[in-house]
């Protein structure tokens, strides 16, 4: 007697079909709601070739300006990283549940960090720009928020994973609170902290570039201006320089990450 053997049971098959149908409905609904002007897109698509051609040119006359603005963006990113790291360290020491002086202080700090994280970085930067005006300082302060949101949370979770053993052993020697942290906790987490910081380098530079677009100084501001004046060669040059910078950073960061493993 022949018997067919199904690869999946009917229950999970049904689930897959339902999920497929659901995604299809969701996609069509979104497209319809967006009111996409497909006609324009198709008619413009013919011009894609010539636009692409414009983009293929580079304009090196403003290279000095581009480089100095790019340098400014990277500087903002690193300054925010250092500032954010300091704040995060303080928050972590008081916020990690296993070493906090008081449980409620820990809840408070964790809640505060969750609020920071719940608001996207661009919104933070826009709020700072709105209240402090355009400029580098706004960019710097605005960028510290997402940095603390990321590093603060990561630092706290690293410290909370320090085995209770270690803290107990330190206590038993008669060590003070500060000594328990500097001699017991920090040696356990320092490598992890370094790799959290290294991971954050890339996001900080990327965010620092995009925050220029909303008027907080740096290469982003230059890019917006070039786009506004349809200066294709300049746009290409800027994008190429950004690309090179990000690539270089990624290589360096990966090095650091393998070393601290």
């Amino acid at each position: 007697m022949e018997r067919k053997i199904q690869l999946t049971d009917s229950k999970s098959l049904l689930r897959k079909i339902l999920m497929g149908a659901g995604s299809l409905v969701l996609f069509s609904a979104s497209v319809l709601l967006l009111n996409l002007d497909l006609a324009t897109f198709v008619s413009r698509a013919k011009e894609a070739g010539s636009v692409l051609q414009h983009f293929l040119q580079l304009d090196l006359t403003d290279l000095a300006e581009i480089m100095s603005e790019l340098f400014l963006s990277v500087t903002i990113a690193f300054a925010a990283l250092i500032g954010g790291t300091l704040f995060s360290l303080i928050f972590a020491v008081f916020g990690a549940e296993n070493i906090t002086p008081h449980r409620y202080l820990s809840y408070f700090i964790k809640g505060f960090i969750s609020i920071i994280r719940a608001i996207p970085s661009l919104v933070w930067i826009l709020m700072i720009v709105a209240s402090m005006g355009f400029g580098t300082i706004s960019g710097l302060i605005g960028l510290i928020f997402p940095t603390v949101g990321y590093l603060g949370k990561s630092f706290i979770s690293s410290i909370e994973e320090v085995p209770e053993d270690v803290i107990e052993a330190m206590k038993a020697t008669g060590a003070s609170k500060i000594q328990i942290i500097t001699e017991g906790v920090f040696p356990c987490v320092s490598n992890m902290f370094l790799s959290w910081i290294a991971i954050r380098v890339e996001s900080n530079v990327a965010e620092s570039i995009s925050l220029g677009i909303v008027g907080a100084g740096g290469i982003g501001t230059l890019l917006t201006r070039a786009i506004g004046s349809y200066d294709y060669p300049k746009i290409s040059t800027i994008i190429l320089m950004i690309f090179v910078t990000m690539l270089a950073l990624e290589i360096v960061v990966n090095r650091i990450k393998t070393v601290t493993k």
């Binding site: 053993d165 206590k171 038993a172 020697t173 008669g174 000594q179 001699e183 490598n191």
Partner: protein
């Protein structure tokens, strides 16, 4: 010093208001005693030893150590008293990413200001003392090795050195050899016995191997369900008494599973 080093009166411990782990323990320990506490799992051995240096807060009772009530001490006073009590742990509790020498110097934490430890400003005398301690346990060649790269037996010897670095008058050891193979266990117990005798220290050790207890102890205390059921010398610890300590009438004894690696010949060996 005259009189007992440690005077425990009516010590009780109840975890989170639930089960009683220690019931009305009253006990005196004289200087230079090598006391081994034995008893079945869950008897309260660790709780007792941890109450002595307040890693566990007792629910009731009084612990007079070196003439002072450590159970009432707080803050600086407590740290100062803890500094006089060295502790050795089952899992060594070393700082794994820190080198051997610094791990031993951590024993000084109770007596140096924080900047000395934070910035590595230990005096040459302290460093030399740490070196000499490591030499007595045969680890003088591993000063700069990270603790995580040592074997279990070596880690425990570093643990002993850290405790001795405190220049304590009392050493507590909670199952110091429970994670070691028989050979390393013997080495570690021999060192522990030797260094405490040389320095006239008092030592309280939790063990679950009765044979080892008999070999090293000057006094054995049997604990069962939070109460002391035996207190005497190795000679007085008879088979019947051992049975009594380990026998739990109402409860079922825990089933002891075979340990992988200790299977009989011909049986599967786990990786």
């Amino acid at each position: 010093m005259k009189g007992p080093l440690l005077k425990i009166t009516n010590l009780s411990k109840r975890y989170d208001g639930n089960k009683i782990a220690l019931k009305n323990i009253t006990l005196e320990i004289q200087p230079k005693e090598f006391v081994v506490i034995i008893g079945p799992s869950g008897a309260g051995k660790s709780t007792l030893i941890r109450c002595l240096n307040q890693l566990v807060k007792p629910s009731e009772g009084e612990i007079i150590f070196d003439g002072e009530d450590i159970s009432k001490a707080k803050g600086k006073k407590l740290r100062q008293l803890r500094g006089k009590i060295g502790m050795i742990f089952q899992h060594y509790n070393l700082i794994s990413r820190t080198n051997v020498l610094k791990n031993v110097l951590n024993g000084k934490l109770g007596s140096v200001p924080f900047w000395v430890s934070t910035f590595g400003l230990y005096s040459q005398e302290d460093r030399l003392q740490a070196y000499n301690l490591l030499k007595t346990v045969g680890l003088q060649d591993s000063l700069y090795q990270q603790a995580k790269d040592l074997s279990g037996g070596q880690m425990q010897r570093v643990g002993i050195c850290r405790a001795l670095m405190q220049e304590p008058s009392l050493i507590l050891a909670d199952e110091p050899i429970a994670s070691l193979d028989p050979k390393s266990s013997e080495v570690v117990m021999d060192y522990l016995k030797k260094v405490t005798e040389e320095r006239d220290l008092t030592c309280i050790v939790n063990l679950h191997q009765v044979e080892v207890a008999k070999k090293y102890a000057t006094r054995i205390i049997g604990v069962r369900e939070g109460e002391i059921v035996f207190d005497g010398t190795s000679e007085e610890l008879s088979e019947d008494i051992i049975k009594n300590i380990y026998h739990l009438p109402e409860k079922k004894q825990e089933v002891i599973l075979p340990v992988p690696g200790f299977v009989a010949e011909g049986e599967a060996v786990y990786e």
